[in-house]
């Protein structure tokens, strides 16, 4: 095994090339929050059960707490910070506000990223597909109904 723990990880982050010297055994979540200061991605359960840390890896939703940073080498990572563009929030975010799908807000970045992954793959989902897409994201306050409505409504507007 290579004893030199740190290595240069090169990947695409939110559309821009990124190179960072990091231990590939650290989680992608740690790299994003603690090395890159991207605090939008939340650290929740730390074991893949709550979905608060959801980011997109090659356009697919993953729990960044479960992804060893080495896995992002040469790949594409997208975080919640990439969604608002030019000072304007993304339609998914807009609809979350509109439909009352945000209460404490802790699950919201993960929920929004799961919704974002869904709409990238399937721009016109039905309610069941929305439920499957957010089934790995826990919300303990606003409830799922509003979240489902927000995602369906965003799909219509996009």
């Amino acid at each position: 095994m290579n004893n030199l723990k740190k290595q240069v990880l090169i990947f695409q982050l939110n559309g821009e090339p990124m190179g960072i010297l990091a231990d590939p055994a650290e989680s992608l979540l740690t790299i994003l929050r603690e090395k890159l200061g991207l605090y939008g991605t939340k650290a929740g359960c730390g074991k893949g059960e709550c979905g608060a840390c959801t980011v997109l890896l090659d356009d697919r939703a993953v729990n960044s707490c479960l992804v060893p940073a080495g896995k992002v080498q040469g790949r594409k990572v997208e975080t919640i910070e990439n969604l608002s563009q030019g000072g304007k929030v993304h339609p998914i975010q807009e609809e979350f506000v509109e439909k009352g799908a945000v209460q404490c807000g802790f699950c919201s970045p993960g929920m929004v990223m799961s919704a974002h992954a869904l709409l990238k793959e399937n721009p016109q989902p039905n309610p069941e597909q929305v439920r499957v897409a957010i089934s790995g994201n826990l919300c303990r306050c606003s409830g799922y109904k509003q979240i489902e409505e927000a995602i369906l409504s965003a799909a219509e507007k996009m």
Binding site: N2, R60, V62, N63, V67, P68, G136
Partner: protein
């Protein structure tokens, strides 16, 4: 813990050799990564051959690092081995299915691993190579050593791929499961079936239930009982009874009571058989 993304098989093998028992192979790493073990992890999922899904030489072949999402959405798996698609689409959550792999599901050796239950129902074999370069093929049903322990020693062996015969004319497969929730929930019971019909009668059958032992378990007596029969209401209720009689289970705080689990074994095994038989009779239904 150290983490190495291997770029080819030689690198995987040499890292395991250098690690002399302290380095282990991972693919998705969703199970092992969190345990923070004093091991080096050697990730093989970047090897192109480990993510291939193809039909070749009379087999459906899947690389060990095919993700659950990839298996569940593959047109080949959907049409030739619907049970595997059904098993994979229920594992964990979408986020986990996007990273977790079928090879990892088998080597992690959980008693009711959904992909493993489906693969055993399909009669899958694993292709394994060790650090001396010896290749072997072993049936997935023989890869369970003990509770949560695989025969595959991932400090010196690498599962490269899984393969099974496709379900073609007259054959069908299905997977069923029951859990407290529809996502992120361990199954109370899961089951899979593969059946071959000839003139409407069962010629070959494989029925699997879990967790009724440390390993997903073939219901050999029930399988034998249905040979030569047609899949009608009488057969289904016979299977429901026979399957529950063939297993022994205990109360589990994690799953459910023994009584309920026995009931579920009967219901789920017979349901899997019925669906597999419907698909065998009408290949147009294979993807449903």
């Amino acid at each position: 813990m150290s983490y190495l993304i291997a770029s080819n098989l030689d690198e995987v093998i040499s890292s395991l050799r250098d690690g002399s028992g302290k380095a282990r192979v991972v693919a998705g790493a969703t199970d092992l990564y969190l345990q923070d073990l004093p091991y080096g992890l050697v990730d093989l999922s970047a090897l192109p051959e480990t993510t291939v899904i193809e039909e070749k030489d009379g087999f459906v072949k899947l690389g060990a690092a095919v993700t659950h999402t990839a298996a569940a959405s593959s047109p080949l798996v959907l049409s030739r081995a619907r049970a595997l698609a059904e098993g994979c689409e229920t594992i964990g959550s979408l986020q986990i299915r996007n990273i977790g792999t079928i090879g990892g599901n088998v080597v992690n050796a959980a008693p009711a691993a959904d992909a493993a239950v489906a693969l055993i129902g399909l009669g899958a074999e694993a292709v394994i190579i060790d650090i001396e370069g010896n290749r072997r093929q072993e049936s997935v049903e023989n890869l369970y050593w003990a509770y949560n322990r695989s025969v595959v020693d991932s400090t010196r062996e690498v599962m490269l791929s899984l393969q099974f015969k496709p379900c073609l004319g007259g054959e069908g497969s299905a997977f069923t499961r029951f859990a407290a929730r529809r996502a992120l929930a361990l199954p109370m019971v899961n089951a899979s079936a593969r059946v071959k019909l000839e003139n409407g009668l069962v010629k070959e059958a494989r029925l699997v239930a879990a967790p009724v032992n440390p390993a997903p378990t073939r219901l050999l007596k029930t399988e034998e009982l249905i040979i030569g029969r047609s899949i009608n209401e009488e057969t289904i209720s016979m299977v429901e009874k026979a399957a529950a009689e063939e297993v022994e289970v205990r109360d589990s705080l994690l799953r459910c009571s023994a009584r309920y689990r026995l009931h579920l074994v009967g219901v789920l095994v017979s349901r899997a058989l019925k669906t597999a038989a419907d698909r065998a009779l009408d290949p147009g239904k294979a993807g449903e």
